[in-house]
């Protein structure tokens, strides 16, 4: 791997490799000295064009546990907010010798631009781009699910996939990079995914995705589900007529106390409730659900550091890092035109 841009094009073997490496990294977090020398002398830049304290500090902790030097570059208050282009920012970071760029951007595809152009030669990790993808979130979700699944089956996580696991992802799929990354990765790992959302919050074209779609949360639960992932609903969606009111949304698609009891009634004692955070308690998830023994919210946060350590390690350490592709191979139309026939 040279970059980690999306889960859509992440192979099964690379996905398993990241998950297995993360298992090893998580052991570091259990030590008294939570540090490895693996990336000593390497520089990781957190380039954030969009506020996300959670994701940034997770990457920062991951890089520091691997002994990398970390530079945080927040677009707000920097030259970026004065009109500096992504190209100039990237070239600046290249000139400073960044080995990896962790980029968070409000524009879908911005990490691909960094990777495809000759602006910078560093490894690029997508930390969330617009409404496109958030691959490390999907990987930490899969990591969390894999541990749960292995415990239930009395097997080891290492090397395992998620075959047979039933996962419901509920909420604003249309605007969710988390949902997209999870759909592709869970497909690769063999899980069965059902998207649950109001029709207004599903993209045109979702029928081509490798998953089922339901408009009904209760029916989805009754069919049996091993993990329910609730997506954050942005308050501003209400003003754009995606749904009539937050109360109606919560009643029909939220994970409320009634649905928590439904899991018990249905005998789904091992079903976990996931959320990428930050949560809107009382909107897409009730407090009782978020704080129940089923909730994996904090485990997800903890696992996020391990996954990001694994990604940085695999992209930057000598034996797994692939040589930089020649920029020309990415930037010519010839390279893209092959995709036309797909």
């Amino acid at each position: 791997m040279k970059h980690l841009l999306s889960t859509e094009d992440l192979s099964l073997s690379n996905a398993i490799r990241i998950l297995d490496t993360a298992e090893e990294m998580s052991a570091v977090g259990d030590r008294e000295v939570k540090k490895l020398p693996a990336l000593r002398g390497r520089t990781v830049v957190n380039l954030f064009f969009e506020d996300s304290t959670r994701t940034r500090i997770s990457f920062e902790a991951a890089a520091k546990r691997l002994s990398a030097d970390v530079i945080n570059f927040a677009a707000k208050g920097s030259s970026v907010s004065k009109g500096e282009s992504l190209k100039d920012t990237a070239q600046t970071l290249a000139a400073m010798g960044a080995d990896a760029v962790v980029i968070r951007h409000w524009a879908s595809g911005a990490p691909h631009r960094l990777a495809a152009t000759d602006w910078i030669d560093a490894a690029v990790i997508n930390a969330g781009d617009g409404t496109h993808e958030h691959p490390t979130q999907a990987l930490l979700d899969a990591f969390t699910m894999r541990r749960h699944w292995a415990t239930l089956n009395g097997t080891s996580s290492a090397g395992a996939d998620l075959r047979g696991m039933r996962v419901a992802i509920a909420g604003d799929v249309l605007h969710s990079r988390v949902a997209r990354s999870n759909v592709w990765l869970l497909r690769t790992l063999g899980a069965e995914v059902t998207l649950v959302a109001p029709p207004t919050l599903l993209p045109i074209g979702v029928g081509q995705w490798p998953c089922s779609v339901s408009y009904n949360m209760d029916e989805t639960l009754e069919k049996g589900v091993d993990a329910v992932m609730m997506l954050r609903v942005q308050g501003e969606r209400m003003n754009a007529s995606f749904f009539p009111t937050t109360r109606e949304y919560s009643r029909r698609w939220g994970f409320d106390d009634n649905r928590l009891r439904t899991l018990d009634r249905l005998g789904l004692k091992d079903t976990i409730i996931m959320h990428p955070g930050p949560m809107n308690r009382g909107l897409e998830i009730s407090s009782a659900a978020a704080d129940s023994h089923r909730s994996t919210v904090l485990a997800q946060v903890r696992n996020g550091v391990s996954i990001r350590m694994a990604a940085l390690y695999l992209l930057l350490s000598g034996d797994t890092r692939e040589p930089a592709a020649t920029p020309a191979a990415y930037s010519t139309n010839a390279a893209y035109s092959t995709k036309e026939s797909h």
Partner: protein, 464 residues
């Protein structure tokens, strides 16, 4: 024709020998004094051809000079993107002898003064006829009709009116514009895009946008406006032209409208005849355009519609941008692609080499019909004796690889970069003068000074 204004070295008579006229039988064309003096077999050695420069054209196709109904020349206002000079050089190299310059300049071409400025810049450049398009509404704001009559009466003699780039979305304003242009045989060229359905739109809404997480531009936003506009055109008995049709559904609506006898014409761009939204997967903004690249089934429907006449013409929507407007995130990038220097090759590739069309059809969709829509009297004429000598010679057997850095346009945003395309313009004659020879720019045509008698003798005070 005042050819005494031409330099001796760049004017005079030309004998084009053995060109396939509209792809048919090989004949000679003798060009003299701005007109096709003779057409026939073996004109060499005749008295009429005495002293003419001979151009051996065996294997070449002779076509009427191409007329673009949809060009952005960017001047005045964005001379960092294109000027009338550079844009019309590109046009000549692409085989064009006339272009319609869209109104979205800065200032907007919404007064007689601005359209006359663009017209004058075109005459000074001398590479092609520059036919300014007038804005429908003041400042393209969609609220108040611009002085359409003053632009029609100006020296620019505007007949095509468009807010292109922005849809005339208010149905009452659109109705009034369609009604009003009847007074001077004008046409409203609509950029069909329902604005509320396309707020923040980045690409075609469909399978690819779902994966890429880019805001969708649904086909219905184009089709609903076209459906409304053809009904308005029928109701008021006026003439509508639909710019850059991009969807299969739009084709069906236009086919229906024509069957009902509604006076509607439609255009398709070369890029919509070849490219699909699959290219957006690269996130390379060179593929960002409005309306967006659609699906392969749309491409096939557009080709069929151009072949059967449902779509009347090819318009390039040539839209040069400075590189910094494309070297950025997709969402930040400007919409648009260059097209003047690749249009002929793309149409040959998609329509002729696929067997959908012949060169006669090519002449119809790139010259005759666009000239008719724009009411350009001396363009799009048959290649016959006595007709104006606007002629393009094409080598259909040539193959070339598109290299934007070698183009005459200032824009480097060609979506065809790196592709091998068929067909090359060998020569372009504009008013009998070779603007392009041997595939390279020659010299511009030099217009005579304005003849006062043809200007509006009773120009309205303040109109200029």
């Amino acid at each position: 024709m005042a050819h005494d204004h031409q330099d001796a070295a760049t004017s005079g008579a030309y004998l084009i020998r053995g060109a396939a006229i509209l792809g048919g039988a090989a004949e000679d064309l003798l060009i003299r004094d701005g007109i096709i003096a003779e057409r026939g077999q073996d004109l060499a050695g005749t008295d009429a051809a005495e002293g003419a420069t001979v151009i051996e054209a065996a294997g070449l196709v002779a076509l009427p000079g191409m007329v673009d109904i949809h060009t952005h020349l960017r001047e005045p206002g964005r001379e960092d993107a294109e000027t009338v000079e550079t844009g019309t050089r590109a046009a000549a190299l692409g085989g064009y002898t006339a272009v319609h310059a869209m109104a979205n300049s800065n200032p907007v071409a919404d007064t007689a003064g601005v359209v006359e400025q663009v017209h004058s810049l075109g005459r000074a450049a001398g590479w092609v006829d520059v036919r300014p398009v007038g804005a429908v509404t003041v400042g393209l704001a969609g609220e108040q009709l611009a002085e359409l009559g003053a632009m029609a009466d100006s020296r620019a003699e505007v007949r095509v009116f468009s807010d292109d780039g922005i849809c005339v979305h208010d149905p009452v304003i659109m109705r009034r514009a369609l009604e009003y242009v009847k007074a001077f045989d004008g046409v409203v060229a609509q950029h069909a895009q329902e604005p509320r359905l396309t707020a923040g739109a980045q690409m075609n809404e469909g399978d690819v946008s779902a994966v890429l997480g880019l805001t969708g531009w649904p086909a219905v936003a184009e089709e609903s406006i076209i459906a409304r506009d053809v009904l308005l055109a029928q109701h008021v008995g006026s003439r509508l032209h639909v710019c850059h049709v991009s969807t299969a559904g739009s084709v069906e609506i236009i086919r229906w409208a024509k069957a009902r006898g509604i006076n509607v014409t439609a255009e398709v761009t070369p890029h919509h005849l070849l490219l699909t939204d699959e290219l957006v997967r690269s996130y390379d903004p060179v593929y960002k355009v409005n309306p967006p690249l659609r699906t392969d089934s749309d491409v096939q429907a557009l080709r069929a519609a151009l072949a059967d006449g449902t779509i009347d013409v090819v318009g390039t929507d040539h839209a040069p941008h400075p590189s910094e407007h494309k070297e950025c995130e997709w969402a930040q990038a400007a919409m648009g692609m260059t097209g003047l220097e690749t249009a002929l090759s793309v149409v040959q590739d998609t329509m002729i080499e696929t067997g959908l069309m012949g060169w006669e059809d090519f002449a119809r969709v790139t010259s005759t019909d666009p000239a008719a829509i724009g009411r350009v009297a001396d363009q799009g004429r048959p290649l016959e004796a006595g007709e104006p000598a606007n002629v393009t010679l094409v080598d259909p057997a040539a193959r070339w690889t598109v290299d934007p850095s070698k183009m005459a346009t200032m824009g480097r945003n060609s979506p065809f970069a790196g592709r091998e395309l068929p067909g090359k313009v060998v020569a372009t004659f504009f008013k009998g003068h070779p603007t392009v020879l041997n595939g390279e720019l020659n010299t511009p045509y030099r217009h005579p000074a304005y003849r006062e008698t043809t200007g509006p003798a009773t120009a309205p005070a303040g109109g200029y």
